[in-house]
């Protein structure tokens, strides 16, 4: 267990801590609303796990900065007239380089911009909205349970079900 691996892995450990906190809330608390909140925390920690994996050291967000994007679009329109041909990846690199030289004050950069991985972002983005919709469903069920049983306490509900 070197210091290097601690520095490389602590993110995962924090995520696991949060995940286990959510799990503990679900297990140890009887109130149904609290359980839903615990599930929410668990869910958020999963989002954080995915986003953590997508980060690249020294990278930036996968949104091309406006200045570079404008230069790029200009270069792309200038070079190939029709969009019909599918450019190769090397072509994209050249376009990016041309854009870097094109955009005046950006010319000093020989290093390419590193972008973090956009794929985890996409997966989690949809998952968050689906998550709130399903949370709303769970809360609706909690409301109905309260209306029928008069309580949101798990053990009380079980007792009522057993007919005590």
């Amino acid at each position: 267990m070197t210091l290097e691996s601690v520095a490389g892995l602590y993110n995962y450990w924090v995520v696991i801590f949060l995940m286990m906190t959510g799990f503990y809330i679900v297990l140890a608390r009887k109130n149904l609303i609290k359980s839903v909140i615990g599930l929410n925390i668990f869910q958020t920690s999963v989002f954080l796990l995915y986003i953590t994996m997508g980060k690249v050291e020294g990278g930036t967000a996968p949104i091309v900065p406006p200045a570079i994007a404008a230069a790029q679009a200009h270069a792309a329109h200038g070079s190939d007239a029709g969009h019909a041909a599918t450019p190769h990846v090397e072509g994209a690199h050249e376009v990016a380089h041309a854009a870097l030289q094109h955009g005046g004050e950006l010319a000093s950069t020989t290093t390419e911009i590193i972008y973090s991985n956009p794929l985890p972002s996409v997966l989690m983005l949809t998952a968050i909205v689906v998550g709130i919709a399903t949370t709303a469903l769970a809360l609706a069920l909690v409301v109905r349970i309260r209306e029928d049983y008069g309580t949101v306490d798990e053990e009380r509900i079980l007792e009522l079900d057993r007919g005590e």
């Binding site: 967000a61 949104i63 983005l125 909205v129 709130i132 809360l139 609706a140 309260r146 209306e147």
Partner: protein, 145 residues
């Protein structure tokens, strides 16, 4: 919240900007952070804020549940309709490249992908707005037993 006149005034002041911001997020989503999901949630939050401050009957006048209900399905319809449109134009389902030369040839759309992404995000935005607003109506319209 009749007890809070200042909150009422501030809400009246803010809501146009919230809705404008939602539109900005929706239509600027290709260029900065944002997109249909976020814009839908923000738009719905604007409506919910109005409902919180002025009451459920006021917000139901602004956004009638019957219309919002239809919008829930309308968004998915726009999304899937885009896919069917691309199929009708000879491409694959949701292959936006075919939109480029066949739809709106006189409009200077940057590319078929742009147009397709715009339509799809619009559908997502409409559905998310409608679903969130309807969920709020469902919860707020219920009386405590």
């Amino acid at each position: 919240m009749t007890g809070f006149p200042i909150i009422r005034i501030i809400t009246k002041l803010l809501i146009p900007y919230i809705l404008l911001f939602a539109f900005y997020v929706q239509f600027h989503g290709d260029y900065g952070p944002g997109g249909g999901f976020q814009a839908g949630v923000i738009f719905a939050s604007g409506l919910i804020l109005y409902g919180l401050v002025f009451g459920l009957h006021a917000i139901k006048k602004v956004a009638p549940p019957i219309v919002i209900e239809k919008c829930m399905a309308l968004g998915v319809l726009i999304y899937a309709g885009t896919g069917v449109l691309t199929m009708a134009l000879g491409g694959k389902f949701l292959d936006y490249s075919v939109l480029e030369h066949d739809v709106l040839p006189h409009w200077h759309v940057p590319s078929g992908q742009h147009l397709g992404i715009f339509l799809v995000e619009l559908g997502v935005g409409i559905t998310v707005t409608a679903v969130m607003t309807m969920i709020f109506y469902a919860f707020a319209g219920r009386k405590q037993v």
